[in-house]
Symmetry: C2
Amino acid sequence: MKQTLEVVLTPALLPLYMVKGKTIVVIDILRATTSMCVAFQTGVKKILPVSTPEECKIFKDFDFLCAAERNAVKVEGFDLGNSPFEFQNPLLKDCNIAFTTTNGTKAIKLSKEMQAAEIIIGSFLNLDAICSWLINQQHSVILLCAGWKDKVNLEDTLFAGAVVKNIKQHFKIDCDSAIMAEQLFIASENKLEETVRQSSHAKRFISLHHNEDDVKFCLQINTLTLVPKMVGEYLMIG
Amino acid sequence: MKQTLEVVLTPALLPLYMVKGKTIVVIDILRATTSMCVAFQTGVKKILPVSTPEECKIFKDFDFLCAAERNAVKVEGFDLGNSPFEFQNPLLKDCNIAFTTTNGTKAIKLSKEMQAAEIIIGSFLNLDAICSWLINQQHSVILLCAGWKDKVNLEDTLFAGAVVKNIKQHFKIDCDSAIMAEQLFIASENKLEETVRQSSHAKRFISLHHNEDDVKFCLQINTLTLVPKMVGEYLMIG
């Protein structure tokens, strides 16, 4: 009997699913889960996902750097925002980071509350690593798109579709969102950046005068081989 | 200033949107909104969407035929279920119908509670009629997929995508669900039936030994020119 593979297009829909005992891949392509993967590549030891900037700030007293983003911009007074470029800074090696973002950390915390057996962090940068890891574990899998303020978004759905395409023969799929995500990915596979630049989030970046390279950076495929995973309250790598 | 066009992939997400003053197209391709369109074509005068089979039954005393479907099957003791073929019966001419279904009537009632300015009923059968009607009215538009028990489904999303493709130049679109729905429809346009037969709902029909023709029937395009619309508590045609 194969394990199941489901896609949940926003955290607002997660309560409709049986989460307990399943593996959840949290997906926030622009930019939280991409930045987390980059942070571990840089040598960060632990990331503590927290709910609010206020809560995040407390951990400054406990030898954490504090990263906070709301509405796609860095919250004033924090060490870091949510751009993957910030997490490439070599000074972060061996540091711990307390991290709060608009969507990504919320999705992680909800997965934990709903008693997922395992929570791992997905991005295009570690796509193949995630897929291999999922094939080699025993639980049914939910790919959880962090979305934007509980609404569905394009880039997270596309990544979910990439995972479905790569691992579907190992799982039982009875989930229209998984079929839709895979079809969308296949339709956009050869023009991923062009497609994502149409998304509401990419446009939000441009209107905020962000460095547009964040979008390009977050769509790099298989530049990393690590799989960040929740261990107790922390994200770490194995 | 163009009006906006948004797609909401399940009623569970509708509370995230400003509904008041907008036109909502309710979409339940398999099969409620298709059957409603067919009923009006047959000559039904009014359809009263109600929440539960229990509530539906009361209207038998007030000269209504009562139609009730739950979990894709007709509820025992009712005059009608939810197959479009049932609503082609010429005996339904000039009748009123009280109608309750798992997803479609719920989406209609929620749209009304959230104070939509207009609520109309969409299906592939009246696709062009819906599109013309939307272009010729003044409100911003939400295409509301009824889904399956608050989960996203494939066939309703595909129909939303067909509408987006047809009318997008008349509206402002800043909605990833609309982009996704349109891309999905374009990718499946030439193999709509094959795509929908992969959906969880089409499979549910087969497992329930339904006449498979319901799927084929509900994917006919532009066989009807009517636009059912809520007027007070009732659906009617103009």
